[in-house]
């Protein structure tokens, strides 16, 4: 049985510290802030990031450099036979594409997973990969398993403001669809490659109930309904909004009594496009090993 390591990037929301604990290697995402490079969770904390964002700093995301990726892989492969690399969604970043090219030089020892996950659902993929590895699956088998499973997740994000979405100009179709005279809180959906407008709300409570209903609908229509064995993971993610996230967990639990609801901060590469005060609700179908 080969010895398979799991590697991801900091978009998974897994911190360096948590990664060490879980046995998952986390590649920090670089940020350009006022033309200086910072690395998430290395020399840039969440607090510092939001402070800079609020001050109107010019923040740009970028892919991890090939050098940093290969350096991490090489060091991991000195201890492990193979590794599974789970980058942020190929729909949102070129990181995945780049990693796949780099992996070609590793004779199959590096398997890059293109399963279009982000944040809490990307994190869940890492946990799933870990589980698969411990059950004796090879890196290639894990990659294939996760890619086949990619649509078994769903994320909805409610934004507090349209400001950052417009400023970034990166997610224009979504922003355009919600352009209106009233101040609205858009609810976006990440589904595969697509990050798009799903609905809109006037108040936080409306937005929260829209997301809750949407997740319920997905579970009902796509994931085989609510079952006794609670075969769904639920996750809440937020941008500088922890208190609200905890309050939302209580509401979610009223509808899903006894379920696991994991809370994470949304990764900074998403946060810089949507700004602080956002709240996300996600679910993943539990895998069957």
């Amino acid at each position: 049985m080969s010895n398979v390591a799991i590697v991801t990037d900091s978009n998974s929301g897994i911190t360096q510290a948590a990664g060490k604990e879980m046995g998952i290697f986390v590649l920090p995402m670089p940020f350009m802030i006022n033309e200086e490079t910072y690395f998430e969770d290395i020399d840039l904390t969440q607090e510092e990031f939001y402070k800079k964002l609020a001050s109107g700093a010019d923040i740009a995301t970028s892919q991890p450099s090939p050098e940093s990726v290969m350096k991490l892989w090489d060091s991991v492969l000195s201890e492990y036979d193979e590794l599974v690399h789970i980058p942020m969604s190929s729909g949102l970043s070129g990181s995945c594409q780049s990693a796949m090219i780099l992996a070609q030089d590793y004779q199959g020892r590096v398997q890059v997973v293109n399963n279009q996950r982000i944040s809490v659902t990307q994190r869940q993929s890492c946990l799933d990969a870990k589980l698969l590895a411990s059950s004796g699956k090879s890196a290639k088998e894990i990659k294939e398993f996760l890619e086949a499973d990619k649509f078994n997740s769903s994320i909805y994000i409610m934004l507090d403001t349209l400001y950052y979405l417009k400023k970034g100009g990166r997610i224009t179709p979504a922003a355009a669809a919600i352009g209106t005279m009233l101040r609205l809180k858009p609810v976006l959906q990440i589904q595969g490659e697509k990050l798009d407008a799903f609905a809109k709300a006037r108040t936080t409570n409306q937005g929260k109930s829209i997301m809750l209903n949407a997740i319920k609908g997905d579970i009902e229509k796509r994931f085989g309904g609510m079952t006794e064995d609670k075969h769904i993971w639920l996750q809440i993610a937020h941008t500088a909004n922890l208190e609200e996230a905890h309050a939302y967990r209580e509401e979610v639990l009223e509808h899903f009594p006894g379920y696991d609801v994991h809370i994470d901060a949304l990764s900074l590469s998403v946060a810089c496009h949507i700004g602080p005060g956002a709240l996300a609700l996600a679910c993943c179908r539990k895998i069957q090993v």
Partner: protein
């Protein structure tokens, strides 16, 4: 010996006389409205409903059959139905005619059964029937009729007279059933309207001399021109109620069929009198006396460009150039160039009833496809809504009535539409409508969307600030004519002579502990600075709430506000 049976000819006369009598009493009935707000005119709504039927009855000419008459009464009132009492009236007619349409002549037992059928149908049309209203009066009449049959009453005249007397008695009891009526010191206006119809009909039965001429669809009967001329001159001798004589020609760029013409005239009737409206294939000549010529012009602009416009102040000149075109042409028979949409229908469409350019814009920016102008001062009819439905090329259409007095007409439109799926979201106020459309999710099914919207509109509190048109007492609050009033979802929230403080008190009356957002839409009679300072006042008082101020541009209501 008096008549013991009623045939189609007599019934037609009775119906027209009933309609006419209602029309004559229209203003008086309007004044019976409980809320002294400058809207919700029961008399006008009922009159417009019955006139729509009366016109169809008049068009039958002399060859009247019971079948044809029933169809005209039922269909005409159904399409013309406006406002809750109008819709209920149309349902009474529908039930009544359903029972009698197979008969040649009507006897006392048949009439009693028809009354019963009428009441049954009307009760079914209302989701939560309320006692102390037109429904109660109608039921009282039907019960009396049944009693009389059981007692063996055989004389038609005494039968009808006893039924009407009893209906009047029930009407007089309505204040005992509805406390709001008692406090305001009025009887139910819808019930009063029904009595007007019945007694008018009875007069015709007795053979009283009644002018049965119904304002015809334009250019239909040239012979009536001179009679109308006399009438108009006679009117001029009297006090001038509507000050501007307004004339213009519409160069049509849209089809102007009988239905649009009817609606257009109905609209003119709501803002003035002395109406002449003559259409041929490409132009419509219009003449109306009104206090607000702008309204007539705005409405006309929807059908095409205007020319030969002339507005005279009659109060100053007291002289008026009469519009001479009555015999000019025939009514433009609907060119059936139906705008059959060539593009494939989209999945969802939205129709909203709205008033005020600001609010219209907001609805449009939220994706509403078609705005029916109306609401406060003018309830759109079922026909107006059907017309809008025709114009929206979508498989499923959500209708937002945005006024409690329009919901029934919208429901009726939904029942009359077969080829599109209509969902009436029973929004009672503009803010509820805005919330409903915001909560629409294109990815969900119609039923899921309906459920979402219904649950969300339940979370919206609305308050509207307007002025009182007369003295009254409601909810134990004494109201003086000219006072400002804040009206919430369940009644009066604030009264006073200072608008800002009434508006402020209205907001506090609406607020709940977990309220997050206060939206304020200011009307056409409020200056922007005034609205801004009101917003600042609210913001100071409720620092925990988001406050959004928007220009609504609505008439009559200074502020329309919501708390969510």
């Amino acid at each position: 010996m008096s008549l013991q049976q009623i045939d189609a000819g007599m019934l037609s006369k009775m119906f027209l006389a009933g309609a006419k009598n209602l029309e004559n009493k229209k203003e008086w009935i309007n004044e019976l409205n409980v809320f002294p707000v400058p809207d919700g005119d029961t008399g006008t709504n009922m009159t417009m409903t019955i006139m729509s039927a009366a016109r169809e009855v008049t068009e039958l000419g002399d060859a009247i059959t019971m079948q044809g008459l029933c169809k005209a009464i039922s269909g005409g009132s159904l399409r013309g139905a406006r406002g809750n009492s109008g819709v209920i009236l149309s349902q009474l007619f529908r039930g009544f005619t359903r029972r009698i349409k197979e008969e040649q002549t009507l006897t006392i037992p048949i009439l009693a059964e028809a009354f019963d059928k009428a009441v049954e149908t009307a009760y079914k049309a209302v989701m939560k029937p309320k006692e102390g209203t037109i429904l109660t009066v109608a039921r009282g009449a039907a019960q009396k009729a049944e009693e009389l049959v059981e007692e063996g009453c055989t004389d038609m005249e005494s039968f009808l007279s006893a039924v009407i007397k009893h209906a009047e008695y029930v009407l007089s009891q309505t204040p005992e059933m509805l406390p709001v009526l008692k406090q305001a010191g009025v009887v139910d206006s819808g019930g009063q309207g029904l009595i007007a119809v019945l007694s008018g009909a009875f007069d015709a039965f007795l053979g009283k001399e009644i002018d049965l001429s119904i304002k015809p669809a334009a250019g239909q009967k040239g012979a009536e021109g001179s009679a109308r001329e006399n009438q108009r001159q006679a009117e001029e001798q009297m006090e001038i109620k509507f000050g501007y004589c307004t004339e213009f020609i519409i160069l049509l760029n849209k089809t102007f069929n009988i239905k649009t013409e009817m609606d257009f005239k109905a609209y003119l009737e709501s803002i003035g009198d002395s109406i002449v409206c003559v259409a041929d294939d490409s132009i419509v000549k219009v003449h109306v006396h009104t206090n607000d010529p702008g309204l007539a012009i705005q409405k006309a602009l929807k059908y095409g460009a205007l020319s030969n416009m002339k507005i005279d102040n009659m109060r100053l000149e007291h002289q008026e150039k009469l519009f001479k075109a009555a015999e000019a042409s025939k009514a433009g028979n609907a060119s059936p160039a139906d705008s059959t949409p060539s593009a494939p229908p989209k999945d969802y469409g939205f129709i909203a009833v709205s008033v005020g350019e600001g609010i219209n814009e907001i609805f449009k920016s939220l994706g509403v496809d078609y705005i029916i102008e109306g609401g406060q001062t003018m309830n759109p009819s079922t026909a107006d809504i059907l017309e809008a439905v025709e114009k929206v090329n979508a498989k499923t259409i959500f209708i937002l009535p945005n006024n409690k007095n329009i919901i029934l007409a919208a429901n009726q439109a939904a029942e009359l539409t077969a080829e599109k799926d209509l969902f009436v979201i029973p929004t009672k106020t503009i803010p509820q409508g805005i919330t409903a459309v915001i909560n629409f999710v294109p990815d969900l099914s119609p039923d899921e969307n309906e459920a979402n919207m219904l649950s969300e509109i339940g979370n919206v509190c609305t308050g509207q600030v307007t002025y009182a048109v007369r003295d009254t007492v409601i909810d134990d609050k004494e109201i003086k004519k000219g006072d400002f009033m804040g009206i919430g979802d369940d009644g009066i929230l604030a009264v006073g002579s200072d608008m800002a403080s009434v508006a402020g008190d209205t907001v506090s009356g609406m607020l709940k502990e977990d309220s997050e957002l206060i939206s304020i839409y200011y009307g056409s009679d409020v200056k922007e600075e005034e609205a801004e300072s009101f917003r600042a006042q609210v913001a100071e008082r409720y620092p925990d709430c988001d406050i959004e101020l928007q220009y609504g541009g609505q008439p009559i209501y200074y502020y329309v506000m919501s708390v969510e």
